[in-house]
């Protein structure tokens, strides 16, 4: 009750002090006398405030003699003329950041003083006489800051503050509390509830400007940050969609599994959304099937673009003066067409083979690629693995490289495995690696006749690696040759 009494007594005095400040500026601008009188009024007002504080304190309640004598002084001072001579007074400085500010106070004089100060500082303002109206205005219009009186009837400022901070649309709006109630407990309560700052009444115009400038600057920086974040999220979403579309395109370029006259099954698993592996097979003529698998150094968009470009060139026989029945020539032409200096320093490895159905033989060449493995039966009927190896340099690494071809017979009941190095360059959790000769080839020898060997190999290397996610692309073809 004492606090309320102090508040009710202070409120009109604060309004007087506020008007004094405004009038001082007007006098200075119009060079009219009266500054001394205004200063005396302001001094008396501050004296009265001090007496109210001391007289109505919990320790010293009831010094009415002090209050009434101070009030008398103020009244007599106020009777003096405002036309006395005065010296110039600097006009109010404009704020560096202008904003739209909602002033909420049940006292019209308080609102008036604040609005005048704010508009002189360059801000646009609106007013609300109580908390409910303030909340209604905040829900309809955009503001940059709220100046909110603590003690108001109908809905006190603290409740308005709570509602604003609980609203997802409004919780970032800075709220500066203004009050004649200057108990520390009230200040702390408001700050903990999310108020940006607290200004005591009577407020100092310089402090008002400083606090508002600081709050607005913070708000504008936060707005910028949210805007940047939104743009980043939109860009990320768009990029992710485009990557997915690119990945779908790459998969669409892979040939469907074949069942007649050869059976071809494959598994393709890029290590990222877009891999650098690609492969294909197509009939060059009715008797010759070309089979090829290439692996661009790296992953991601660049590697995928190069691999698709190279595969399309092979599939469409798009290399000039090239005999596509001759794997060595194909690789030589590819090497000239895809020199790494012209392709963002990327090169690729490739295994290219041409199966002659009538001759039951495969002519093949390799550019830096692991050999294909042919699972066949020896004279005793036991399975053996033959490496189809004809080594050559990585494609695109150096100009003017010639590549040789080799020819291997394909016996009945044999199965050819064509794969990338990602199928066997696998690190175990303990840091050791699979070895091609002592781990990978023996695994294929033991399991190579399985129905779905490409998937089985992928599953096996994932278990060796200790993770579903591999660090390199996985491509594996299994080709069954008819009897």
């Amino acid at each position: 009750m004492l606090a309320k009494l102090r508040h009710d007594l202070r409120t009109p005095i604060n309004a007087i002090l506020g008007y004094c400040d405004l009038l001082k500026e007007d006098l200075a601008r119009n060079q009219v006398n009266g500054l001394d009188d205004l200063n005396r009024i302001a001094a008396a007002g501050r004296q009265l405030l001090a007496v109210i504080e001391a007289g109505l304190s919990d320790e010293h309640f009831g010094d009415f003699h002090s209050i009434s004598s101070a009030a008398e002084t103020s009244r007599s001072t106020g009777k003096n003329s405002f036309t006395a001579a005065l010296r110039a007074f600097p006009s109010e400085r404009r704020s560096e950041i202008a904003g739209r500010i909602l002033v909420v106070d049940d006292q019209p004089e308080n609102r008036d003083v604040l609005v005048k100060h704010l508009e002189r500082q360059g801000h646009r303002t609106a007013q609300a006489e109580d908390g409910q109206r303030a909340l209604a205005m905040l829900s309809r219009e955009a503001f940059d800051l709220v100046l909110l009186d603590v003690a108001m009837p109908v809905m006190e400022g603290y409740l308005v503050l709570e509602r604003v901070k609980a609203d997802p649309q409004l919780r970032h709006l800075p709220v500066v509390m203004i009050s004649a109630v200057d108990e520390l407990e009230t200040v702390v309560r408001c700050i903990e509830a999310g108020a940006e700052d607290f200004l005591p009444k009577p407020f100092d115009p310089t402090l008002l400007r400083a606090r508002i400038d600081a709050s607005l600057e913070k708000k504008f920086l936060r707005d910028q940050e949210r805007s940047h974040l939104h743009r980043i999220e939109e860009t990320q979403k768009r990029l992710a969609n485009e990557l997915q579309e690119a990945a779908r395109y790459v998969v669409s370029t892979l040939p469907p599994p074949m069942s007649e006259p050869l059976k071809i099954a494959w598994t393709y698993e890029p290590s990222t959304e877009l891999g650098g592996d690609s492969f294909g097979y197509h009939w060059i003529d009715e008797n010759h099937l070309a089979v090829y698998l290439l692996d661009v150094c790296g992953h991601g968009v660049g590697a995928a673009l190069l691999s698709v470009a190279a595969i399309n060139v092979i599939r469409s026989a798009g290399l000039r003066d090239t005999d596509f029945f001759d794997p060595g020539q194909v690789l030589s032409s590819l090497n000239e067409a895809f020199q790494m200096e012209s392709h963002n320093n990327m090169f690729f490895t490739i295994w290219y083979g041409v199966y002659d159905v009538a001759a039951r033989s495969i002519r093949h060449a390799s550019g830096g690629h692991p050999p294909a493995l042919l699972l066949k039966s020896d004279v005793s009927g036991a399975d053996v693995l033959e490496e189809l190896r004809c080594p050559g340099m990585l494609v695109g690494a150096m100009p003017n490289v010639s590549y040789k071809s080799a020819t291997s017979l394909i016996p009945e009941n044999s199965r050819l495995f064509v794969f990338c190095d990602g199928a066997y360059e696998i690190a175990r959790p303990d840091g050791t690696r699979l070895d091609f000769d002592t781990d990978f080839a023996p695994y294929l020898l033991r399991n190579g006749r399985s129905l779905n060997i490409p998937e089985q190999v992928l599953s096996w290397i994932r278990s060796v690696h200790g993770s579903e996610t591999l660090t390199d692309d996985f491509s594996f073809l299994a080709i069954d040759f008819p009897k």
Binding site: C297, G298, M340, T349, M393, L394, A397
Partner: protein, 112 residues
């Protein structure tokens, strides 16, 4: 991945590489390595005795060095690669473009 200058004379640059030349390893040393090699203007020997793994990114780095030295009329030698690394070098056709040797004196003589 570590890169160290072992010998730096007018006639030869000898660099020692140690660690795994996978994507991460290449990223760690590529800029420094290519800075040494690109304008070396003399033969370069790479001591590969402590390189434990060589991936395609490592091959790319090597070929960039081979090409850069080739433009200067100089050659690259790779010294004492470990067996698994030697296999990768062989598979990639590096031996057609650079000297691969298991003896320092032999490597030097083949470069000059």
């Amino acid at each position: 991945m570590n890169l160290r200058i072992i010998e730096d004379t007018d006639d030869l640059l000898l660099l020692e590489l140690a660690g795994s030349l996978d994507l991460e390893g290449v990223r760690e040393i590529e800029a420094a390595f290519l800075a040494h090699v690109t304008f070396a203007k003399r033969p370069v020997i790479l001591d590969f005795s402590q390189v434990t793994f060589l991936a395609s990114f490592g091959l790319r780095m090597l070929f960039e060095a081979i090409r850069a030295l080739g433009r200067q009329g100089k050659r690259l030698a790779i010294l004492k690669p470990q067996p698994m690394v030697a296999q990768v070098l062989e598979l990639g056709g590096v031996s057609s473009a650079a000297v691969i040797s298991f003896d320092g004196a032999d490597a030097r003589s083949k470069l000059h």
